[in-house]
Subunit: 219 residues, 2 copies
DNA sequence: TAAATTGTTGACCAAGTGGTCAAGATACGA
DNA sequence: TCGTATCTTGACCACTTGGTCAACAATTTA
């Protein structure tokens, strides 16, 4: 909360600065910590998580965790940094040369798959953004913005060519993001309302989204 | 975290149990506290908020806040209880007699309006559900589930009558919820990506959602 | 106006938490 | 095998935070 602006490079700094090459043990333990931290942070948020929890989950002492990452914020930044790539990769795949509706549906499908396969990552971001995105705001304003702007231009071109209904590209992206991530972020609500078995649930989600998207986007 | 299961009746318990009628001062101060708490909880989450912050925002001492609500959890439960109604009212309006697409679009529009007018409420719920809905889970499983089931039946009837595309009703509701609440819950991300003035942004959001919904749902 | 009830707060406490440190254990190159 | 660098941890500290309490102020009631 207090100090914003954490640098997002996922480097762990074992004592001094990042000069020597990483030991085998370092690599193993840093990975352990980051994995544990994703678990803990995604289900409790930043403030709700304690270094002790992370240490327990990672199976080591708190002091040892703080040996690999100097502060709790460092751990948090590292987790975010390592998850960002996974989370945004699919959008980069959107291909201007492909069939518009097919491309957009493929993207949606991939996001839906990720929501199911990596709900932790989704919740980590949801938490971070809900708290005002203190850490990843710079990332959102630079890398993400640049990527999204590029993809919006592609979508706009498709529309101009009459291959797509005249939606606002940015809002189409928002629609895809929200409707897919919802299944990860709001899981407790979904579980409270859903009576179908899990695979049926996701089958229905996919069917409904596909129908709404393909029909909604048809020119 | 630790103890789940807080009762959700929004009663403040000044000292003893809830017997005597509420004083003028009680009503005023409880309202102040709840208003302040909505502010604080919605932007910091439960764990990230302190009673001191709430007291400051409400303009009184911490001890006094704890005089009206015995514990931090009580404040939280009260805020949730008083916000739940506002949040769910619109769905109840969905009218089986009206024109299906028009009814669903009216509902979507109302949710969009709420996201803009009461983003705090939206974020409060998002936070609560992200943390596993420890407090409102019973509510989700009872009142909300019953309401949603009823509305799903209406939508299913519409579909059976050929007035609506064959979507899964529950997932249509999820789509409406997610795509509208997104504008409140993920505001920092949206602001990082959007370049238009605020009213244009919402105009575009509405246009895009309307287009996708009406075309996607047409039989 | 006097008594009783209600409202208000500073001072305080116990528990939890982020982070430090010294001292010992382990791995590793020569 | 020895010496050095790396790894690990219990004990500890400063600070935050939820909650209590006694004492005092304001308000209502008779």
């Amino acid at each position: 909360m207090a100090d914003d602006e954490i640098n997002l490079n996922g480097d762990a700094t074992v004592s001094g600065s990042s000069s020597r090459k990483r030991t085998r043990i370092q690599i193993r333990n840093e990975a352990r910590i980051v994995r544990a931290a994703l678990d803990v942070f995604s289900s409790n948020g930043y403030r709700g998580s304690t270094v002790d929890q992370i240490a327990d989950t990672a199976g080591m002492s708190k002091a040892n965790v703080l040996y690999y990452f100097n502060t709790k914020q460092d751990i948090y930044a590292a987790v975010l940094a390592r998850t960002l790539t996974i989370w945004l990769d699919p959008l980069a795949e959107l291909d201007a040369e492909g069939d518009p509706i097919e491309e957009l549906w493929k993207y949606t499908q991939e996001k839906l798959r990720l929501s199911r396969k990596a709900p932790h990552a989704s919740r980590l971001f949801a938490n971070e953004i809900l708290q005002g995105a203190p850490v990843i705001k710079p990332f959102l304003e630079n890398q993400l913005k640049s990527l999204v702007t590029r993809k919006c231009q592609i979508i706009q071109t498709w529309i101009d060519q009459g291959k797509l209904a005249p939606v606002a590209p940015l809002h189409l992206i928002f629609l895809i993001w929200s409707s897919t991530q919802h299944y990860a972020d709001f899981a407790p609500q979904i579980n409270a309302l859903n009576t179908e078995p899990e695979d049926v649930l996701h089958e229905q989600a996919e069917q409904t989204l596909k129908l709404m998207l393909t029909r909604g986007l048809a020119p």
